[in-house]
């Protein structure tokens, strides 16, 4: 059974990648299992400077999902370069560096600093975060802004650039095409949906930040729909993410058009979910008649 997937810059031994922000830099999970079993790891968003992130509470539960408003807490790109990446070098897995920022220049800064790290195999641009330069709206919500930051990132980068799209848009296909046009090597779909919960006792939003990002199984149908639509409109590979909990979910994303997947919030529910899925994948693929995982991508819209 072949589980390996070759994507720009990434030789994934299997298509399972913990999603950015849901796995830290792997240190905690490394105490539970050998990270070398993973296809890759999308590390926590890096910004030029250290960020404390949003005030707490940052977490709220929702039906079949959760809201988070971490606010990109990280120790800054230099700390990550000096402390996290060298430590990650010991594992035989592909490291994807997720990059975020408050303006376009931030992306360029982080990429230029990380270009030299042999551990980083590709960049993933998180363009969902509110952007100070554009009145707090996300770069991911307008095709021209998304394309612009992609172009700057591509110019700066010595490694393939994946762009992680925000689902909070009217037309995801339009954004995806703009980003492809701007030179992206691949897409990651989807980031979290914007949501909110209100605490009945206080009458105020549960999250200190008021709104937060919705993730978990609740959003899977939205993610599948977006991957399905985008996969038919672009010719760069897609990494699917949103609500994955088991090998069957992975297959659903692959059928929808993804070439690999990221697993997010489920790592909190079952800390062993990634190795569990990797274990189960061969038998699930066999059950549905495959002996090579690459045969499954886009099955749902291919004529057979």
């Amino acid at each position: 059974m072949n589980l390996s997937v070759k994507l720009p810059g990434l030789q994934l031994k299997n298509p399972i990648i913990p999603a950015s922000g849901c796995f830290g830099f792997g240190r905690e999970f490394a105490q539970l299992y050998d990270l070398s079993v993973l296809g890759g790891i999308a590390i926590k968003s890096a910004t030029p400077q250290a960020r404390f992130g949003n005030p707490t509470p940052r977490i709220a539960e929702t039906p079949s999902g959760m809201l988070n408003a971490i606010g990109l807490q990280n120790k800054g790109v230099d700390y990550i370069l000096d402390n996290e990446l060298p430590w990650l070098a010991q594992f035989d897995t592909e490291i994807i560096a997720n990059v975020a920022g408050a303006c376009e220049e931030d992306y360029v800064t982080v990429i230029e600093k990380m270009n030299g790290s042999p551990v980083v195999k590709a960049f993933e641009l998180n363009i969902s975060c509110p952007n100070v330069k554009h009145g707090g709206i996300g770069l991911g919500t307008k095709p021209e802004l998304a394309a612009h930051v992609t172009r700057l990132a591509k110019e700066a980068s010595k490694k393939p650039v994946y762009v992680k799209l925000s689902p909070n848009v009217t037309d995801i296909v339009e954004i995806a095409k703009a980003v492809e046009q701007a030179g992206a090597d691949g897409l990651v779909l989807i980031n979290t949906l914007m949501g909110m919960r209100i605490d009945l006792k206080t009458g105020k939003p549960v999250l200190a930040n008021k709104t937060g990002g919705l993730s978990g199984p609740a959003i899977k149908p939205v993610a599948i729909r977006m991957v399905y639509q985008v996969a038919q409109a672009v010719s760069i590979p897609i990494i699917g993410v949103g609500g994955i909990t088991c090998a069957e979910d992975v297959l659903e994303f692959l059928y929808a058009g993804a070439s690999a997947v990221e697993v997010g919030a489920q790592n909190f529910v079952d800390p062993y979910v990634c190795p569990k899925i990797i274990d189960e994948l061969p038998s699930v693929l066999r059950k549905y008649g495959y002996n090579d995982i690459t045969q499954t991508t886009g099955r749902s819209f291919r004529n057979e």
């Binding site: 922000g21 905690e28 977490i59 039906p63 978990g216 909190f268 079952d270």
Partner: protein, 244 residues
């Protein structure tokens, strides 16, 4: 470790308050003040609950029904299995000491029980001060006495023991000590920190991962450095982190 544990005991011990005993093989790793993350059927995130007692083959937890998750937990029956992740976090220090004071408020009391047990096992003098809203809420007084602790009670309405907070009880009894181990509501923990020089507090926070990966549960120290309640805590020395 993640384990399907068997509920070997489930009993109501107070108003909305339950005591549950889980058969598990994680007992030899568990320390007082650590917690476990419980997967309540039908809920998405796990629920963090302190370890209240460590037995040979089982862990005891004591929990209050405050929402959907704890409600469903209370409806589970003996014999059913429930998935548990743990033990997690850093617990209370168990050191060679002559005297410790344990201060608990409300559902902050449970983790102090195993702490008391382990200190009593090494013959440390253990003073226990427990604060509740009223007489009806009191639990585990007898259990601490049986361990050989000297127990004082404070109730906000004065229906039993000292009227007021645990601080009032500590003052009234003239209890002083260079090691206070405490768990309870934030105002109580703040008051303790401000009144006494040395000790430890155990914090609560909204958690997702419970192991330090998601940054959901952070608190700051005086310098603005971030600490994760789940991984760097839940027990912190007095004064280490800012209580807001």
């Amino acid at each position: 470790m993640v384990e399907n544990t068997k509920i070997i005991k489930q009993e109501q011990i107070g108003v909305d308050l339950y005591r549950m005993e889980l058969q598990t093989s994680m007992t030899n790793q568990a320390k007082p003040g650590q917690f476990i993350q419980i997967q309540v059927p039908g809920m998405y995130l796990r629920r963090p609950i302190s370890i209240s007692e460590i037995k040979k083959d089982s862990l005891v937890i004591i929990y209050k029904v405050v929402g959907q998750g704890t409600k469903r937990l209370s409806e589970m029956e003996e014999g059913q299995t429930i998935n548990v992740f743990g033990p997690l976090g850093n617990g209370f220090p168990i050191e060679q000491r002559e005297h410790v004071v344990l201060v608990g408020g409300g559902v902050g009391v449970p983790p102090l029980y195993e702490t008391a047990k382990q200190y009593r096992a090494q013959n440390t003098k253990v003073d226990v001060v427990l604060g509740f809203n009223d007489k009806e809420q009191i639990f585990y007084e007898e259990e601490f006495i049986k361990l050989g602790c000297s127990v004082s009670i404070a109730t906000m309405d004065g229906s039993q023991g000292t009227k007021g907070t645990v601080i009032n009880a500590l003052k009234e009894r003239n209890i002083d000590c260079d090691c206070i181990l405490s768990c309870g509501p934030l105002p109580m923990l703040k008051a303790l920190q401000n009144t006494y020089p040395n000790g430890y507090i155990s914090l609560e926070a909204r958690m997702a991962c419970g192991i330090g990966a998601c940054m959901g549960c952070v608190v700051k120290d005086q310098q603005g450095h971030a600490y994760r309640v789940c991984k760097d805590g839940p027990v912190f020395p007095f004064g280490k982190v800012v209580l807001s």
